[in-house]
Amino acid sequence: MKTLKIEELSKNFGSTEVLKKINLEIDEGNFLVLLGPSGCGKSTLLNIIAGLETINEGDVFIDDYNVSKVEPKDRNIAMVFQSYALYPSMNVKENMIFGLKQAKTSKEKIQEQLEKVSKFLQVDQLLERKPSQLSGGQRQRVAIGRALVREPRIFLFDEPLSNLDAKLRVEMRREIKKLHQQLKTTVVYVTHDQTEAMSLGTNIAIMNHGVIQQNDTPEKIYNKPSNTFVADFIGSPSMNLIKGILKENSGDLLFTVGGSNLEIPIRDYDFKDKLNLNNKEVFFGIRPEHIFFKKFNESDFEINLRADLSEYIGHEQIMTFDYANQEVLAKFPSTIKIDLGKETKLYFDLTQASLFDAQTEERI
């Protein structure tokens, strides 16, 4: 039994297709992050799960029951909003118990839940305050509390941290992580922030143009991106994508770039399909953090590139090198001194490299 299952779901606003044949499953207790740039359809998908938007095609199942046409209140979900959406005319207590009251829960049960949750979230001193008298972090807690008291099957979060300042955001992120570890409830969390997604999710679904690009664990998303969009979206700076051609040379496979003599051997790469690799146009992908200034592993591949630019950002520096007229970025500790305009010895960790078909942009 899947806690949440989405089948072949499509949604249009007028003539614009916002979601195209989405399929998605979540197991009990998992934390799924929907990640993507703005306008990718992630918030619409969340609203559809909540029942706040109608569906054009496809179905949503909660605990194997089709809830596609069920009202939000009967779906056994709770939602935390970007603007917190606390009711301004009610105090904290009234905000938190409003849902229970609508569901005609007994007074004793309401009181019990309120005490439990407000203690747990440390808002028990604020119960009589109005939302306008709370700080951003406190409002956030109350909004989460309002969701918690209902003990829902699924928690939905819609960019809950984006209205907080940077410091508070990190703090609240940790709290949400702790919360999930303690309560082990199922969560669907929408964000455009990859750090949030990486640190919180047990699964991340990366979306673009209404399509799920990849749905995997954070490690897989980072190490084995399934296409160039994911490779480019995750990581900062993002993965280097060098355009070139694969060449077979007496049994060895080489990555070459036309008009240059730079060659990278491809040895233990886990190809999906080993056929027709010769003369294939590809992107060679390597993350800036997998390029070193000295040999760390026996297998690291040595290459000479010209250093063009250095950006100092405190604990580290981002160096730009020239790879046959394509830019390649690397992340080094800021203590390393490299002369600009000169050839420098670099070491690529090829076990971490990715290859993408230059036409389809899919991983090969």
Binding site: Y65, N66, V67, K69, E71, D74, N76, A103, R150, P152
Partner: protein
């Protein structure tokens, strides 16, 4: 909480919400249409009555459809019957109103734009108090200034004249026009003015070359507001003018109240429509601006 609902109960929930929703929708439209009829009813009655003969009016009801497109009462309301003395009709008063409205709207809007400009872009110590000082003028009941105003117009020799009314409407429009322009200019970035000053533009150049060209929306709001207010005014018109200098609302009231002969309701209604049509046209053509003016300047009764 409900826990895991069975699929059958989910189905019941679907059914129930569908029927409640349908019933609610019908109820909603019913109420909205009932109120729409209440609001449209007088306008409908005015129009059909103006198209009927007195005979039709006596025989039919308020709602009954006129027998034909009988425009005679409109002609009488606008141009009279042509028997000279005692024959009141709206045409000259309509022009009085135009002659009064155009300059009064122009002057009050211009002054309001200048004061709004100074109050937001050339701020000085105590400018907030000056604004408050002007703003209070929006709220005073005009009864409190009628007596001295009548005397002042007499002293100036412009009582019972269109010029006198232009003065009155210009002065008492300033608080509103200032309010409109001040609230609009306050959202224009002051950097714009600073940049212009660094480029060497002076006080008037900045106003005419930079602020005025981006003021079209608020000018429309202000002009519509002032036009409606002044066109519809009756208190000042009836107090400070009579006879030939009267604006149209005063003339309409006199026509309707005149007890000379048999009441001609069709002519009354045609007159009322003529007096109301300029503002109605403005409302229909520029409703958005009209409403914006209303919500920000509505304190005037």
């Amino acid at each position: 909480m409900q826990g895991n609902l069975k699929s059958s109960s989910y189905q019941q929930l679907e059914q129930k919400s569908k029927y409640t929703n349908m019933f609610l929708r019908w109820f909603l439209y019913f109420i909205l249409i009932v109120f729409a009829s209440y609001f449209i009813f007088p306008l409908y009655v005015m129009v059909v009555t103006s198209l009927k003969t007195m005979e039709e009016i006596r025989q039919g009801t308020l709602l009954s459809w006129p027998n034909g497109l009988n425009l005679e009462s409109w002609a009488v309301a606008w141009g009279g019957r042509g028997y000279g003395a005692g024959d009141t009709f709206l045409r000259p008063y309509f022009w009085n109103s135009i002659k009064m409205v155009v300059p009064a709207v122009f002057f009050s809007t211009f002054i309001g734009a200048m004061t709004g400009y100074v109050l937001t872009k050339w701020r000085f110590k105590g400018d907030q108090w000056v604004f408050l000082f002007l703003l209070f003028g929006c709220f005073i009941p005009f009864q409190a200034i009628l007596l001295p105003m009548a005397r002042t117009l007499g002293v100036l020799g412009i009582s019972n004249s269109v010029i006198g009314l232009v003065l009155v409407h210009t002065v008492y429009g300033i608080p509103f026009t200032t309010l409109f322009f001040r609230n609009y200019y306050i959202s224009v970035p002051t950097e714009l003015v600073k940049a212009a000053r660094i480029d060497g533009a002076g006080f008037f150049k900045i106003f005419f070359k930079i602020l005025l060209p981006i003021s079209a929306p608020i000018i429309v709001v202000t002009v519509i507001w002032q036009f409606t207010q002044i066109w519809n005014d009756f208190l000042f018109g009836s107090t400070f003018s009579f006879g030939e200098a009267a604006p149209i609302q005063v003339a309409l009231n006199n026509m309707v109240l005149s007890s000379t002969s048999v009441k001609e309701y069709n002519v009354d209604m045609a007159s009322a429509i003529i007096a109301g049509i300029p503002t109605l046209i403005v409302y229909v053509l520029a409703g958005k601006y009209f409403i914006r003016g209303l919500t920000s300047g509505a304190v005037k009764g």
